[in-house]
């Protein structure tokens, strides 16, 4: 019995529950809605939720537990000898493939269900027969694997049957329970609202738990890394030269330097442009210009960063080479290739403009009109009002917006991968290619990396460092923004 059938059955039960719960409650009040504690639909929803929630919870638990149980049952059939030859995981994946193959064969009609559970390697070449129905196996199937596979199928099919009975049983029990309770004095509205609150809470906790999970996976791998590579060398090493042959130098300093350098250039483009755009949009632009320009600016925020990366690589980089390269506009030879800190920083700055402008615009608009009136009423010009009253009042919020933009800049990857270059370097020249923490995480984990080597594990340490830096920036930004909000509301 497949999962979708179970879900359909539960859904049907829920609909039945809704109708029954509603009608029984109405019946208990003699059909007079005024005598019910809650609206009739609440009794219906109560029954439907009583069907769905316990049974779905059981289903989820079952789906998690069943594979573990099967694994343990079947694994006990595998002899020590075969485990020694390869490994338990490999044998088990073989078993699973054969089992799936037998399922496919039965479905395609190449075998009857009886044959599938009774064939023996001694009499049949299982590999050929499964090959006929399109299941390719890497090696010949020995009798032990085949028997394990057949056992696997047995347990799985019993499990599926049991699952259907138990889950639908829970659904029916919920239905009966809710039906019994559907009485005109039953406070169905309160119960439904409490359940809804729990649903909302669990949605919120999924987000939080996921964050926690990400952090934990980073932490464990980072600890693993620091076991094979000294932390002091990582944090203070000035050279980044990983080699998968061993003897790597994995100093984070040149990467952090380039990250901060590029972010600095990006912010020095994005902050003035974004802020001035926000001031124009919120203070000077008429409603027509505003309704046109604000969405246009926000389109910039919707462009995928890989497109910005291409823009950096194909347009901005060559333009900068034309200006600063050998035989270029300024007659200097400061720039070798299109990739440089300036290229990536400039394009990243453009990407951040809508981020800064949109947030600052909201914050400037939040400054009460009374402030503007007060200043204008004293004979200040509009520009004096903006400079001396509105911007100071909005400053904490603007600083918060800038910090949020900074954490975006630090975590940005694609623009850097394409625009900044691949060589880790400690240099002050913005026209040289450098590489950042994020770009190196990509290059350390792509390709055939051995996940036990420090060269691959370093990616987690880099990610953890980045995570801590941006987390601190975000906390600072949120703190500042919140403090600002308290001022007017």
């Amino acid at each position: 019995m497949s999962l979708s059938v179970i879900l359909l059955v539960l859904l049907a039960l829920a609909v039945v529950g809704y109708v029954l719960g509603r009608s029984r409650a109405l019946g208990s009040a003699g059909g007079d809605m005024q005598k019910l504690h809650s609206l009739p639909s609440y009794y219906g929803w109560n029954a439907a939720l009583m069907v769905l929630i316990p049974s779905l919870l059981v289903l989820v638990v079952w789906l998690i537990v069943q594979p573990i149980v099967i694994h343990n049952q079947v694994a006990s059939m595998i002899s020590e000898a075969s485990i020694e030859k390869s490994s338990l995981d490999l044998v088990m994946s073989d078993v699973k493939r054969v089992a799936d193959g037998l399922d496919a064969a039965v479905e395609a009609g190449a075998m009857t269900a009886d044959q599938a559970s009774s064939i023996r390697t001694e009499f049949t070449d299982v590999r050929d027969r499964l090959g006929d129905v399109g299941v390719a196996l890497g090696s010949d199937v020995n009798s032990e694997t085949l028997r394990a596979a057949q056992r696997y199928r047995e347990i799985a099919s019993t499990g599926a049957l049991l699952r259907l009975i138990v889950v639908v049983g829970f659904g029916l029990a919920g239905l009966a329970f809710a039906y019994m309770r559907s009485h005109r004095d039953f406070r169905a509205r309160n119960v439904v609202e409490r359940v809804v609150r729990w649903i909302l809470l669990s949605a919120a906790s999924i987000a939080i738990l996921t964050t926690l999970g990400i952090v934990l996976s980073l932490i464990f791998n980072t600890i693993e890394f620091f076991r094979v590579y000294p932390a002091a060398d990582f944090f203070f090493g000035l050279t980044w030269s990983p080699s998968f042959g061993g003897g790597s130098e994995l100093g984070i300093v040149p990467l952090i330097w380039a990250t901060l350098y590029i972010s600095f250039i990006a912010l020095s483009v994005a902050v003035p442009v974004g802020l001035f755009a926000a001031i124009y949009l919120s203070e000077y632009a008429g409603p027509h210009v505003r309704s046109f320009a604000k969405p246009m600016l926000e389109v910039l925020a919707g462009i995928p960063t890989i497109v910005y990366g291409l823009f950096a690589l194909l347009t901005v980089g060559p333009l900068l080479v034309d200006a600063f390269g050998g035989g270029g506009l300024f007659g200097v030879d400061w720039m070798q290739g299109a990739s440089s800190v300036l290229t990536a920083g400039f394009v990243m700055g453009i990407m951040l403009i809508p981020f800064v402008s949109s947030l600052s615009d909201d914050i400037i608009n939040a400054v009460p009109q009374a402030m503007r009136d007060g200043s204008l009423g004293l004979g200040a010009t509009h520009s004096e009002t903006v400079k001396q009253v509105i911007l100071p009042a909005a400053l904490p919020g603007i600083v918060g917006a800038i910090l949020l933009a900074a954490s975006r800049a630090i975590g940005e990857t694609m623009i850097v991968v394409l625009g900044a270059g691949a060589a880790a370097r400690l240099s002050l020249n913005p026209l040289e290619a450098m590489t950042t923490v994020t770009a190196k995480i990509v290059s350390q984990l792509t390709g055939d990396a051995d996940f036990a080597s420090p060269e691959a594990l370093v990616a987690f340490a880099l990610g953890m460092t980045l995570f801590v830096v941006t987390l601190l920036l975000n906390i600072a930004a949120l703190y500042i923004v919140r403090k600002y909000r308290e001022q007017y509301e």
């Binding site: 008429g286 009374a370 009136d373 007060g374 009423g377 004293l378 004979g379 010009t381 009253v389």
Partner: protein, 273 residues
């Protein structure tokens, strides 16, 4: 010289004519205000005498605040608002293209309904106007201007030890007096007050009213108020607005004791509004 006082002359026939002691500071003739298609002020003529307090009363939405905002061209900041007619300050048309509204607002200060101190220190709140207009040559000058303005607004004794504290930390009444001090600091000739006490408790209101009475000596004051008692307490002349029209204008005592127009009578006796 003042053909607009015909109303009270008629109303108090038999009594000697009460003419303003001095030449009017502001003269408005045939003032019309439009908000888009909405005709908010219709044909308002009024003379506002110098060195006295004039109050505008009337039901909500009658146009009294709108008219007040015409007197320092604050309505210019509203895009859809259009003003017609003539408003003269000391015989100069303030809507003349040659007039800089920013300069005008330095001469005609304004205090708003809700106290709106800037999120700066008390000192900086008062120093803001003088600084913009370059009224102080040095720090000592500025300190003198600020202290004088705070003294005139009756606030100095309460805040002299904490001039660096934020203005937003004061109580509502103190904030409003800070806003008055801020307006006084640029040495205006006229002060417009748009329901200055509507957000204040009775004690703070009494203090502000007392202050308004003192300020009359040096400034021409126009106050919009919802409280007829307040109009009676602080103003020498009162104008009653209704549906965008100036219905009746005259000495405050006459308006409240012997209104000429039926609508004024209905309003002050509480029959509508």
């Amino acid at each position: 010289m003042n053909e607009l006082t015909h109303v009270d002359e008629a109303a108090v026939s038999g009594q000697p004519k009460i003419a303003p002691a001095v030449e009017p500071k502001i003269v408005a003739r045939k003032v019309q205000v439009f908000y888009g298609d909405n005709h908010a002020i219709k044909d308002v003529d009024v003379d506002i005498p110098a060195n006295s307090v004039m109050s505008f009363i009337g039901p909500s939405g009658c146009g009294k605040s709108t008219f007040l905002r015409c007197l320092n061209r604050m309505n210019d900041t509203i895009d859809v608002c259009r003003v017609e007619g003539k408003i003269e300050l000391d015989h100069e048309d303030i809507y003349d293209p040659k007039v800089d509204p920013v300069q005008l607002r330095a001469k005609v200060g304004m205090v708003f309904q809700k106290p709106n101190p800037f999120p700066k220190s008390i000192f900086e709140n008062v120093a803001y106007g003088p600084r913009i207009h370059g009224l102080a040559r040095n720090k000592t000058d500025m300190e003198e201007i600020v202290v004088t303005a705070l003294q005139k607004a009756g606030l100095f004794a309460e805040v002299k030890d904490r001039l660096d504290a934020p203005g937003t930390g004061l109580s509502g009444g103190q904030q409003q007096r800070l806003c008055i001090a801020r307006a006084i600091a640029v040495s205006p000739e006229v002060i417009l007050m748009d329901e200055p006490c509507s957000a204040l408790d009775p004690i703070a209101t009494a203090k502000v009213e007392e202050l308004i009475d003192e300020l009359r000596e040096n400034y021409t004051i126009v106050i919009v108020t919802h409280s007829m008692q307040q109009a009676a307490r602080v103003s020498q002349r009162t104008a009653f607005f209704h549906l965008g029209l100036l219905v009746e204008e005259g000495p405050t005592d006459n308006i409240f004791t012997n209104p000429h127009d039926k609508r004024t009578q209905d309003y002050i006796t509480g029959r509508f509004g």
